[in-house]
Amino acid sequence: MRVLRRLGPTVLAPVLAVVVAVVISALVMAALRVDPLRVFAVMVDFGDTPTQQMTAVVVVLNRAVPLFLAGLAVAVAFRMGLFNIGVEGQYRLATVMAAAVGAAVALPGPLHVLLIVVVAMAVAAIWAGIVAVLKVTRGVSEVISSIMLNFIALGIASFLLTGPFRGSPEGASIISTAEIPRSGWMPGLNGVFGLLGLADPPRQLYGFLLVAIVVGVGIAVLLGRTRFGFDLRATGLSPSAAQASGVDSRGMVVKTMLLSGAVAGLIGMPDLLGATHAYTTDFTSGLGFLGIAVALLGRNSPVGIALAALLFAFLDRALVPLQIAQYPASVITIIQGTIVLAVVVSNEVARRIALRSAERGGAAPAVAAATGDGSTGPGQTADGAAVGTGAGVGRTAGAGQQTTTDARQETGA
């Protein structure tokens, strides 16, 4: 019961958001004279043969891995109350640098891959670190600086790609870096299909899936179980209280942004190590922005982000089949967009419900105590019940805003 109550709002909000998004998208489609039911049918149709179906599953998983990492990168900063909008620039710059370094060296297999990954993480972390340094030394809002740095990062990335790192011949339609040698490729996981007795699809399931899972677990442990994670979350919940508790807020900003950036550096790795083996002009873009949506939908928890990433990947997969079936592919964009909007609204609704139920949770057992040993003293326990209510009432009326106003007033006075 308690688990249900605690999970209730957490699960409810995203599910509600998805349902609302589907309904809205259906209405939009209907308005555009597209039959929503048939569109949804195409979206869930994974093919007829087992091989086709498994291919679809692999496509979804392969897309989900970078989305998951992007969501994590955003969420790490989010949990501290920082908006890292710069994930896009961070991973693009990191990937082009890692691709160039990877192509320039020849090392034994695992080391080669490790080097590429470390370079990517380092580059993205440094790029995110700029945001942190600007914030703690100059008070620049991380939202502004990370957005601006996106443009610079993308500019630098295309300069590097077309200039120093160019590996493709002159006049090629797609410019790319030199290809990473085989030792720097990450093998696929298709072996598991055989082990599970499933059809082995022609497409490779990214080996980076395992890395992503490890990173996800690592982040979950770091945030939930360590002192560092506690400091980080405390700062996110109340910077002033965290500071009074001894958290060095500036240091936390730097550390958190470095961590967020390092995770962002991994976003390009599944594609780079598992499929393209080079950074190209048509390398997957937009993952950093989708990551914000994924983190929102997943409510910043690693498990939630994994589910959200799978959903977004599932939607992404439908792009091609929809086009084949002569339906507008923008349907997917509409659904993703409405999910984001709906999630923002429903998160707020869920937060209020959670707050309210917490207050009730606070008040109700006090009443039980009052009835239980009402004979012990003159009104002591009953007072407890009334005390609980006082708080409950106060909160319900104003929700979150009340607290912030109060805090402001008290600092002002």
């Binding site: 209280a241 001894g246 207050e359 009443v367 708080a391 106003t405």
Partner: protein, 527 residues
């Protein structure tokens, strides 16, 4: 505005429906339930027109719930609200305002960066051609200010005003909306004695003009001074009404809590010679180089409570921040047990044995959206029982939270309850328990009993006394003069960043102390 019908003050309870002088406000059998709890039960409140009617009760007794009912913030489950003898139903505060009810909140709802004029008219601006009509607003505010002796200056920024002035702006806001009945929620909580007297003067003006004031408080002396009649609420229901002229404070207190009123008293000195903390010429300046704390010298010994009295905003908060390491000192040194800790981080100071009860527990003391056990860890992230190496010890933190809840009488369902669900008193007891559990050498207690009920106040006082007896040094900043006088071994007065007087708490009276706090008295001897 014609003056409303008035009943002579001191007249025995007017019968409901007697017709001659309908009551300004009458609540009949108000019951308000929240899931699992009854916040108000069969509340009866009769307020005559033109009187100051006090509603007293402990924190959490249901005063706020009742006033929210009257102000239309929620609807009662049972009972009737009658205004001037007519039953009314409020769907929102807007309805209540339209019916002539105004609320002055305890925490001011003012925009600091707007002028008095802009704050007062906000939401019901006089306009001319779609633009704010400053002249009309200024005229109406001047009129209000004259009529009720509020002394408002329309064009001053609210951020430049003192607490008393801000409160008058709040009152003007309500009057501007033609309120005939004012609800004042704990209006004296933030005021010093002199400002309280000024407020009472304003209330007398309001009364003279035929307005009705409902005055929420738990400060019984003040209530007796200002109120024409008193309704006492305990455990969500009215336990009776009292005439302030024939009822003693003690009788009122007994009605209110149903028990003896605690008083802070530490008379036998436990001061030991070893200093715990020494401040040497500590100066804190703001961004413009103005000294907020000005060359403060101060020593707290083991087993000593050093009280800092002062009108809020005279540098006490900055002094506390400087000792906690939350704000850099411009010059001077902070010595903890003889060691210079001026350059130490807050965490290092905490680890070296500094406990902290912040003045604003929501801002600095708690993570409201986190469970109690996580709040147990806050401020103690580097020490057992909450952590093991780099990891959080969830089990240990939960167990220790349960212990604190038991030992310090924190009333909550369990360690997993969110802190926001607790009443102010219980939150404060959790903070006190948490800080005490680390056995600090020095405890910085800023307004440790602010906004907590009498019961919790008494137990917090006892905890501080016990800790003092065991040799803890306590730096106590408070606005509660009785608390300062009762608990302190040494009492300093802070005015404009300086310690201007050192007084003997055994002989000083609250009035004298108030004089020093406002600068009316000085140590030179001018009384």
């Amino acid at each position: 505005m014609p003056p409303g019908p008035r009943a002579t003050a001191g007249e025995p309870q007017a019968d409901p429906g007697s017709g001659a002088a309908p009551l300004a406000v009458e609540l009949r059998g108000i019951t308000k339930r929240f899931p699992g709890v009854v916040a108000n039960r069969d509340i009866e409140l009769r307020v005559r027109r033109g009187e100051v009617h006090a509603v007293v009760g402990e924190n959490g007794a249901g005063k706020s719930t009742l006033m929210k009912t009257l102000y239309g913030e929620h609807r009662p489950d049972e009972g009737q609200i009658m205004l001037d003898g007519r039953e009314v139903t409020f769907r929102s505060p807007a309805d209540a305002i339209a019916a002539g009810i105004g609320m002055v909140h305890q925490h001011f709802m003012l925009a600091d960066n707007l002028t008095v004029l802009e704050n007062v008219v906000l939401g019901s601006e006089p306009t001319r051609g779609g633009r704010l009509d400053h002249a009309e607003g200024r005229r109406r505010i001047a009129e209000l200010s004259d009529r009720y002796a509020l002394g408002l200056r329309s064009d001053v920024l609210v951020e430049d005003l003192g607490v008393g002035d801000r409160q008058r702006v709040e009152i003007a806001k309500v009057l501007y909306r033609d309120a005939r009945t004012l609800i004042l929620d704990e209006p004296t909580a933030v005021l010093v004695p002199q400002e309280v007297d000024e407020l009472f003067g304003n209330l007398a003006e309001l009364k003279r003009e035929g307005l009705t004031v409902i005055f929420i408080s738990h400060k019984l002396d003040e209530v007796r001074k200002v109120a024409d009649s008193i309704t006492v609420i305990r455990r969500g229901t009215t336990v009776g009404t009292a005439d302030p002229r024939t009822t003693s404070t003690r009788q009122l207190a007994e009605m209110m809590v149903g028990a003896q009123l605690p008083s802070p008293q530490t008379r036998t000195s436990t001061v030991r010679p070893t200093p715990v903390v020494e401040l040497r010429g500590v100066t804190v300046t703001d961004a413009d180089g103005r000294a907020l704390v000005d060359a403060v010298d101060l020593t707290v010994h083991e087993g000593e409570v050093v009280g800092i009295a002062g009108v809020e905003g005279n540098g006490q908060a900055e002094l506390v921040d400087a000792v906690m390491g939350l704000r850099p000192t411009t010059s001077g040194a902070v010595l903890l047990g003889g060691e210079d800790v001026t350059a130490w981080s807050t965490r290092a100071r905490r680890e070296a044995g500094v406990g902290f009860i912040p003045e604003d527990r929501h801002r600095q003391g708690m993570l409201l959206d986190a469970p109690l056990w996580e709040n147990r860890i806050l401020g103690h992230q580097t020490r057992p029982p909450a952590v093991k190496g780099p990891f959080i010890d969830r089990r240990g933190a939960r167990a220790d939270t349960a212990r604190i809840m038991r030992d310090y009488d924190v009333r909550a369902p369990g360690p997993d309850t969110l802190a926001v669900a607790l009443s102010g008193g219980n939150q404060q007891k959790l903070i006190v328990g948490r800080e005490m559990s680390a056995r600090p050498r020095l405890l910085l207690a800023a307004h440790p009993t602010r906004g907590v009920d009498v019961g919790a106040q008494g137990s917090i006082w006892r905890l501080l006394e016990d800790a003092r007896a065991e040799g803890m040094g306590i730096l106590l900043v408070s606005a509660d003069l009785d608390e300062l006088i009762g608990l302190s071994d040494t009492l300093h007065v802070m005015l404009r960043g300086r310690l201007v007087a050192t007084l003997d708490p055994a002989t000083v009276t609250p009035e004298e102390l108030g004089g020093y706090m406002t600068g009316a008295r000085t140590t030179a001897g001018a009384a």
